[in-house]
Symmetry: C2
Subunit: 191 residues, 2 copies
């Protein structure tokens, strides 16, 4: 019985993602997922309180690895590897457009914002900061380095392209951003 319920949960989440890709997040509804999955909508509402919650769980089920950081002992190489992996995930269907839709809804639905933060944003931030802290303990990063600020500077240009200018995220773009961030802008500006 429990097995059957777990199967059904997986089937509902898979249907949610399929339908989300077909008709887009805006038009997706719990009723439509229920009809396609062949379950009653109350079966869905028993487990998920809203379309946003169902969609978030469905998306997270695609991201089992959770974008873990490698630890080769070289923090710069490991940052690059992890950001490349993030770009591979966010830059392509199905994850890419679906996460965009969810981040979009989070901008005006506080419940979706809270769930997205708790399930995706905060854990990823914690992983980045933990990896940077290990590097700092190993003497690879100076003690006064502000890790939260580093997080914003490393991630911001990617989100800018992902959410604002909607250009393709590529490894080459990541490498150009990292190079500029490491070198700094000062050399380019007359003082």
């Amino acid at each position: 019985m429990r097995e059957k319920s777990a199967d059904r949960t997986v089937a509902i989440m898979r249907t949610t993602l399929e339908l989300g890709q077909e008709i887009g997040y805006a038009k997706l509804s719990i009723e439509a997922v229920a009809a396609r999955a062949g379950v009653g909508k109350h079966t869905i509402y028993r487990r998920w309180s809203s379309k946003g919650a169902l969609f978030l769980d469905s998306l997270m089920s695609l991201n089992e690895s959770g974008l873990d950081y490698p630890d080769t002992g070289d923090i710069v190489a490991d940052l690059r590897t992890q950001i490349h992996a993030a770009v591979d995930l966010l830059g392509r269907p199905p994850f890419g457009p679906l996460v965009r839709a969810l981040v979009g809804e989070a901008q005006y639905d506080p419940q979706v914002a809270a769930a997205l933060s708790e399930r995706f944003i905060a854990p990823q931030e914690a992983k980045t900061v933990a990896r940077l802290e290990r590097a700092r303990e190993q003497g690879q990063i100076s003690p006064d380095f502000d890790l939260d600020l580093a997080m914003a500077i490393l991630s911001g240009p990617l989100y800018f392209r992902y959410l604002i200018t909607n250009e393709q995220l590529t490894h080459a773009y990541v490498d150009r951003v990292l190079e500029a961030l490491f070198a700094g802008l000062r050399g380019h500006f007359a003082s």
Copy 2:
């Protein structure tokens, strides 16, 4: 007669913003704006094809200055001044939460995305790049400097905080970001 129509347009946009602040963008509807403004909904639809289009025009009517760049001859000081002004606009009601809602809808509504890009994002980008180009012509920026990349690096950390972590945008944060971007990360990482 023309005057009266212009008055009505202003009244509809003002009502849209008032109602948007009261009930949030998600619950806003053209019907509700029409009822509050005392006009028929066809009057609104004659001018605006969707809620997103109406909302975008209403928001843009608040931002008459269009976040123009000063030109004191000092590019670094002018960048700082302009980003402070952007933070003052985006970090506070009414513009802040309302733009967030619109950027949110743009993530899954291509029409809203296109309108937002055309009316807000692209013109602001063009202003930034034009100001950087003037500085380059005046010898304040090195010739090989990638201005589009600079735009992403300067804006990204602000959008990250605005859209992803939802922390307050402040002048102090802008100054910390600019300092880190100018100095570069290399000094903080052991090579």
